[in-house]
Symmetry: C2
């Protein structure tokens, strides 16, 4: 047994995970890709030595990046996922059977192939006929699409490496234009403890772009600090006042009550969001 | 700079913290005690190589172990803290100026002296004339006191080493008898991800002891999984329906809204608590 230390160690705190076997380790055009069999947490994916997911706790992330907006927007026909090459977010989106089209824009084709091989419970949605995959830069992709999506989910890695551009003001302005008149975008926006300055920056410029803007969180044990959050950027629908009940969505983390509670933040977040 | 790995690594996941200097390292009669200066998280206390607190995030733990019950019970005169040798819990309790007496039962005198030396922002409450410290075994202490306390807070370490007895049914039965007719006890009850089996055990026997029993959580980045929770065991008062407003309590994590939200749990906890 061996310890793998997550390279994303904000504030000098890192996650270590016990692994029993290395299953993949190679470089794609964009990044280093590793897959391990862990001792207790199932398989684990790392990009550039940063933990992206373990099979043990990925549900807490993927359910919460996907289901809140899908329980708020009354009619989502067409969704865009930027990043999300492991497939977990698409899997959750497809639980909403009324959705007609899901576009996935993942910059790195290798992430999708490695996840199809090692994480079939996440990536199976990629074979659904509603899903179309584009191997392109998400920042360029949204620039070219106007008034097209009901929902955009940015399921990105951290703001170092290829995902850096996805934390910029111009990207959010372009997403605003890619959304229909009542569209929503939900973006991976780091954790409220160690990512406070990133959140502050995102919220400072987003206040000038989206009329409805909130931060909400989920808990993921294998991410630094154990919590990660999302920006809920909306043109019309309110994330908590506009929740409606949907039947037949099976989840392990999400409930309508958790949906509401996840927008309630500790006092230290009050001056940030 | 050096990495210190937390020895409490449930499910093969451990926290690593960057440290710059070791300030203390010795054995008391009960356990190994270490204090480090960390790179980014202030000073850090470890007992038996398990992280107890960092100055950076201890507020999220101590506020949430103390304030919910103190905003529910309408008249707390006398409180018992079992464990809590760092002083953080007592500091939060003393923010409620109507409290008359705080007993602290800490088995290890050395924990209190090392915290008085290195963590004055936590331990300052020990000098308050309302506070009386007993260096005794908490399990024995409650057995000898009947119908005495309005509130008992068990601020213990994990169920290995000296704190093991504090996770047993008999201890909870004795606490029930030490409480007045409308008393509450709040106990450190591990995190909902990695501590699920411990929580299940606690809740199975506590359902036969306390008529009102709930689990609630807080987020502490330097604890495994980033979240830790508490059993709210009450004879009369409900943890959410009976909240009342108190003025002049300064906090960084606790708010009345967070109080309510912290009792709302992910779906996977539904069959456990």
């Amino acid at each position: 047994m061996k310890w793998i230390r997550d390279k994303w160690a904000p504030n000098g705190a890192a996650i270590n995970v016990n692994v029993v076997k290395q299953l993949e380790s190679y470089h794609s055009k964009f990044q280093k890709i590793d897959v391990y069999e862990t001792a207790n947490l199932g398989k684990m994916l790392l990009l550039d030595d940063i933990i992206m997911l373990t099979e043990y706790d990925e549900f807490a992330y993927h359910e919460m990046i996907a289901h809140p907006s899908l329980h708020v927007h009354p009619k989502v026909n067409k969704v865009l996922v930027i990043g999300g090459g492991d497939g977990g977010t698409v899997r959750e989106i497809l639980k909403h059977s009324d959705i007609r089209e899901v576009h996935v824009c993942e910059i790195d084709e290798e992430v999708i192939s490695v996840c199809k091989k090692h994480f079939p419970t996440l990536s199976s949605g990629f074979d659904n006929p509603k899903v179309k995959i584009f191997f392109e830069d998400g920042a360029v992709f949204v620039k070219e699409r106007k008034n097209e999506y009901d929902l955009i989910i940015v399921d990105s890695s951290d703001p170092i490496g290829p995902a850096q551009v996805l934390f910029q003001e111009q990207f959010y302005r372009n997403m605003f234009d890619s959304l229909k008149y009542d569209g929503i975008t939900v973006t991976q926006s780091e954790g409220m403890f160690f990512g406070r300055e990133i959140i502050r920056k995102l919220f400072t410029f987003n206040r000038n772009i989206f009329p409805i803007l909130y931060y909400y969180f989920t808990m993921v044990p294998t991410y630094p600090s154990g919590t990660i959050g999302f920006s809920f950027c909306s043109k019309k629908h309110h994330p908590v006042n506009d929740i409606y009940t949907k039947k037949g969505i099976t989840t392990r983390y999400y409930t309508p009550d958790i949906h509401k509670a996840s927008f309630i933040l500790p006092k230290f977040m009050e001056d940030i969001v």
